[in-house]
Amino acid sequence: MNWGGWGEFFAMGGYALYVWGSYAATFALVACEIIFLNLRKRNILRHLGRAGATAQRVVAQHG
């Protein structure tokens, strides 16, 4: 174990800005991509309407 406590962990030996800045950007961008992908899927399914809903069911049945 590297850390004496949570304070030490978050301080990252004085490099908190750089280390947490890297990890925060990564998780934020990945979260954005996941949200955009879900919106894109919802949009195209809404556009397809009933056919889209049925397509989803067909896909669910056939794996």
Binding site: G13, Y15, S22, A25, L37, A51
Partner: protein, 263 residues
């Protein structure tokens, strides 16, 4: 795809092809449900591997003797940089297959990979900048490694911009494929830049020909995070290719009128 089948049958190796049926999943209609089945598995693996990688990176890997805790950026920086190059090669491969064999799904796959590749390229640059500041004293230098990686980001953006500027998706695929294939020349430049030029960026800590020049637990954390990013890329690309399939095939019978396909 069907054209290829007919030619193949005429040349004698067609029978073999049909028996193995390599091309079954080359049709968007057949690939759509397969991608939907595989996608959650890749996503799940990505979450598990990421949790293990973060644990190894922060709680098992020791503090670096020279860089203190700042080096822990490596667990994102190196995997992101690897993925940025690897995804470009995969994207160019599918673009090239689409160009050569005229298969629709290949072009869709290339388009599906590009945004995730751009994401990892940006992250490699961003985390590199945050690492460069405390270690080199500069957020950015025009070093060969950094510059060629920036060009990679512009290649991804150029690929996406070119495709979105052309209305006909098949023409967009072909134009994008040419750009992607020409841009492949940048990948060895990025990879070998630290050898070819005298760069501020350090040389590779990991190579296939010698054991890694870092602690085993550091190395393990980096590899696990790289696997996590790989699995995430697969999940994201499959999710996106499913959207692209529905968008492009929305007038095809199997999408527009799936009631006919119900048993």
């Amino acid at each position: 795809m069907f054209r290829l089948f007919e030619t193949a049958a005429g040349t004698g190796w067609g029978a073999e092809q049909r028996r193995i049926n390599w091309f079954k999943y080359a049709s968007p209609q057949a690939f759509f449900p397969l991608a939907g089945t595989l996608q959650p598995w890749f996503a799940g693996l990505a979450v598990v591997l990421c949790a293990v990688g973060i644990y190894l990176g922060f709680f098992v890997a020791p503090t670096d003797a020279q860089q203190g805790e700042a080096y822990r950026i490596i667990f994102i920086h190196v995997p992101a940089a690897w993925m940025s190059m690897f995804l470009y090669l995969v994207m160019a491969f599918w673009a090239g297959v689409g160009l050569a064999l005229n298969t629709r799904l290949s072009g869709m796959m290339a388009s599906a990979i590009a945004p995730t590749g751009a994401l990892f390229t940006f992250l490699a640059l961003w985390t590199g900048s945050l690492w460069g500041k405390p270690m080199w004293g500069a957020w950015w230098v025009w070093d060969a490694r950094l510059t060629s990686e920036l060009i990679l980001l512009f290649l991804y953006f150029g690929f996406m911009a070119l495709q979105s500027a052309i209305d006909d998706p098949r023409r967009a695929d072909r134009a994008g494929a040419v750009l992607a294939l020409v841009g492949v020349v940048n990948i060895p430049i990025i990879y070998f830049s630290v050898k070819w030029w005298n760069t501020l960026h350090q040389g590779a800590s990991v190579s296939l020909t010698r054991s890694p020049s870092m602690a085993t637990t550091m190395f393990a954390g980096m590899i696990v995070m790289a696997l996590a990013f790989w699995m995430y890329s697969m999940a994201a690309a499959l999710a996106r290719v499913r959207c692209i399939i529905l968008e492009r095939e929305r007038n095809a019978e199997w999408v527009a009128d799936p009631l006919k396909r119900l048993p």
